[in-house]
């Protein structure tokens, strides 16, 4: 035990960059940096959320009709998938902290699996919308599917879909980047890079992963669950 501890500390010392006084400062600094980065990310999505709120307030009915087209079962499944992935991610960070690199690698691999699961389901949804001409642009065509209630305002429903594609697309892009980062952790983990004295990359990627998850927690009700009552 004692020898492995010394080995851990050596790994940690190799990871200490020249401009920090000690590991504590380095860890503190990198986690602070990550929080600042997430702040930037919030503002990045914030612009889209703001556009969404403005248009939803002005063209509520058109947004309701658009959201009727969402596949709630797939959306809810995806929400569950992401929440599970956050759990395995959190457990993975914990495993790294406890000095169980093998467990960490397994948990991170499950996280990656969940990530691909999410993207796969999202792709099915995208395909459905694409087939139904629910992609903004010259080929956009919108019908409620209920002859008694024709589309009241297809023009603004198109804006709903523009925002839908932009927001979920940007989110999916973040997922892809996230999967890449977790894969990098897996490789580094296999090479024995992380110890209880040095695991801040795992922690930071974890923070990122939870953030991306959190964005979806907002996107799901905003886009899928606008109103069932005003339905058609």
């Amino acid at each position: 035990m004692a020898t492995s501890d010394i080995g851990d500390i050596q790994v940690a010392e190799r990871a200490l960059q020249h401009h920090f006084a000690d590991m504590e400062q380095q860890r503190d600094t990198s986690s602070f940096g990550m929080w600042m980065f997430l702040l930037t990310e919030i503002m990045f999505f914030g612009g889209l959320f703001c556009a969404y709120l403005v248009y939803r307030a002005s063209y509520y009915q058109a947004f309701v009709e658009g959201s009727q087209k969402m596949n709630i079962v797939l959306g809810a499944t995806n929400t569950a998938v992401l929440i599970c992935s956050s759990l395995t991610m959190a457990l993975g960070v914990r495993a790294a902290q406890m000095g169980k690199p093998k467990l960490m690698v397994i948990l991170l691999l499950i996280t990656i699996l969940f990530g691909f699961g999410f993207l796969g389901i999202k792709a099915v949804e995208y395909h459905e919308h694409w087939e139904n001409h629910e992609f903004p642009g010259p080929n956009f065509h919108f019908e409620t599917g209920n002859p008694a209630h024709p589309a009241s305002d297809p023009q603004h429903t198109q804006i709903y879909f523009s925002l839908y594609w932009a927001m979920t697309g940007l989110h999916a892009l973040h997922m892809v980047i996230g999967i890449g980062l977790v894969a990098w952790l897996v490789i580094a983990g296999l090479m024995g890079a992380y110890t209880p004295h040095y695991y801040n990359p795992v922690e930071n990627v974890g923070l990122y992963w939870h953030f991306v998850d959190l964005v979806w927690i907002y996107l799901f009700p905003m886009l899928y669950l606008i109103s069932k009552k005003h339905g058609v």
């Binding site: 602070f32 940096g33 930037t40 990045f44 612009g47 556009a51 248009y55 903004p136 804006i159």
Partner: protein
């Protein structure tokens, strides 16, 4: 006196290793600052060339020198280059990069590799934007107003927007690095109350970079998507709202002017104290004014939209908030002036530029009050009055501060002195040239000459000729430093660690500083601007 041999032999960040690779793969904040210095100087001359073409065209009322399309592209590219690729990175990315770690007593910025990445992002953005310009140009104005930019312009809007998008991430990463460095990397004893005001100012600017830049990034991305796929977020023909674009655009682009001016204010605080040999007057007020500007700056964006069709009550609120953001700027001006009171003042070039800054920034700030005043803004909005106002703040303020800082820290950066007489001449030329160029534009603006006009009614000619004449003096004022700075690299006098006898950690290390800045982590036991305990006479190099 130290011998020259000693200084040359000493290892510093410039001679620690050689070769292109040692520069392009460096993570040393000082070398990255030099990379930025070279890149933004190139952009400055490009943007300046466009400005000169614009001024030449405006010599005559008719649009005779260049076609209107060319003219429109010229002012657009002048704006894009100067705002996004020169002013925003100027003081933070060059002087801030070089000085913030030195001033707080750190060996480097918190994330050196991220710092290098941010330079590469800047270059990638700049090259993308330049390619868009070379292959056809952009004619939307730097403001990219929709639906003109999304629907009616036939130029390379997408390329320019993506260029700015990429450069935006460079700005975000620089800001992030500054915030984390100032929070976590300060030397023992360097408390927040002892932090140089230059760091406070860069810290405030960094807050805006981190919080504001992502919004413009996503906005320009939407513009690009709208152009590419005809989605209708901003296009009224497709049910979108063009005013939403303006809100999102100015939500960043108004605070962005504070990204540009705040670090300049930091430079002035350092210089005024040094050449008055005094503690700064009202340290807390100057520091807090920086933060107040950064925060309030986020709440005033719609004052660009008083005649755009927003509601009367929204206009009222934004007008009120715009006055509030003017107050901290006024507080700073008064404090700098008070700092000189009973000082012991020396007129070196940095101080001359600082005088110029305080005067011109005062004019720029006060004319900002005109624009915040609703009834007056209706008349002067989108006229030359606005052009004059922001050039007074951006060129009269920011570029003056940048020049002041460049002269002040040139000996630290290069180890050589610039020629003082030539530098004083250039400072004078810049001041005279600048006022001759831009003061007439205030008059033109209230008379009603709209901005972005390729041709104009003849009664506006005399003032336009005056303005162009001033611009040529200004150009000479900028060419001179370019020449003597390069000259000084070889022939300038050896500077020694502290040629101005200034206080501050950056002056306690040799010039140029060694790669790791400090051999031993410094311990700060004195207050900021402690000129009382600084010996009056020049400190010799061998000290």
């Amino acid at each position: 006196m130290a011998t020259a041999v000693q200084t040359v032999e000493r290892e510093n960040y410039l001679n620690s290793n050689y070769g292109i690779k040692s520069w392009l793969l460096t993570t040393d904040h000082k070398r990255i600052a030099i990379l930025y210095l070279i890149s933004i100087t190139a952009m400055f001359w490009l943007g300046g060339f466009f400005a000169m073409m614009i001024r030449l065209e405006l010599l005559t009322p008719a649009g005779d020198l260049i076609s209107s399309d060319t003219y429109n592209k010229l002012f657009t590219m002048h704006g894009i280059i100067m705002v996004f690729f020169f002013l925003i990175p100027s003081v933070p990315a060059v002087l801030g990069n070089f000085l913030v770690p030195l001033m707080v007593g750190a060996k480097d910025l918190a994330f050196p590799r991220v710092n290098l990445l941010s330079w590469y992002l800047y270059m990638a953005g700049a090259i993308t934007a330049l390619v868009a310009m070379v292959t056809g140009g952009v004619d939307t104005g730097w403001t990219f107003y929709t639906p003109f930019s999304t629907t009616y312009s036939n130029t390379h809007v997408i390329g320019a927007a993506i260029g700015i998008f990429i450069a935006g991430f460079s700005s975000i990463l620089t800001g992030l690095n500054f915030i984390v460095t100032i929070h976590r990397m300060r030397a023992p004893g360097m408390t927040w109350r002892r932090l140089p005001l230059f760091c406070w100012a860069n810290y405030a600017a960094a807050i805006i970079m981190v919080l504001g830049t992502p919004v413009i990034a996503i906005t320009l991305l939407l513009v690009a998507l709208e152009r590419a796929f005809h989605i209708g977020v901003f296009n009224p023909q497709l049910g979108g709202d063009p005013l939403l674009f303006q809100h999102l655009f100015w939500f960043y682009s108004h605070p962005a002017v504070y990204i540009m001016i705040l670090p300049g204010m930091g430079v002035i605080s350092e210089i005024v104290t040094c050449f008055s040999r005094k503690r700064v007057f009202g340290y807390e007020f100057i520091a807090l004014a920086s933060i107040a500007i950064a925060v309030l700056g986020f709440l005033v964006w719609a004052h660009h939209m008083f005649v755009a069709g927003i509601s009367v009550y929204a206009a009222l609120v934004f007008s009120l908030l715009s006055y509030l953001v003017a107050i901290p700027s006024a507080v700073k001006v008064f404090n700098w002036t008070a700092t000189m009171y009973k000082g012991s003042i020396r007129y070196n070039t940095p101080m001359l530029y600082a005088f110029g800054f305080i005067g011109l920034f005062t004019v720029g700030g006060l004319t900002g009050i005109f624009l915040a005043t609703l009834g007056i803004d209706v008349q002067v909005h989108d006229t030359y009055f606005v052009v004059a106002h922001f050039h007074y703040v951006m060129v009269g303020g920011m570029v003056m501060a940048y020049m002041a800082g460049l002269h002040f820290w040139w000996p630290k950066i290069t180890g050589r002195m610039y020629p003082e007489a030539w530098a004083k001449l250039s400072a004078l030329l810049v001041f005279v040239g600048f006022n001759t160029t831009f003061f007439p534009q205030f008059i033109l603006g209230y008379m009603g000459l709209p901005r972005r006009y390729h041709a104009y009614p003849p009664e506006f000619q005399v003032l336009n000729v005056l303005s162009t004449a001033g611009a040529s003096i200004l150009a000479v004022g900028y060419v001179l430093p370019m020449i003597y700075f390069v000259w000084s690299l070889r022939y300038g006098k050896e500077a020694g660690p502290n040629p101005w006898n200034a206080v501050g950690l950056e002056w306690m290390v040799p010039s140029p500083p060694p790669t790791h800045n400090f051999d031993e982590t410094p311990v700060v036991t004195w207050e900021a601007y402690d000129y009382e305990h600084q010996p009056q006479e020049e400190v010799t190099v061998g000290h």
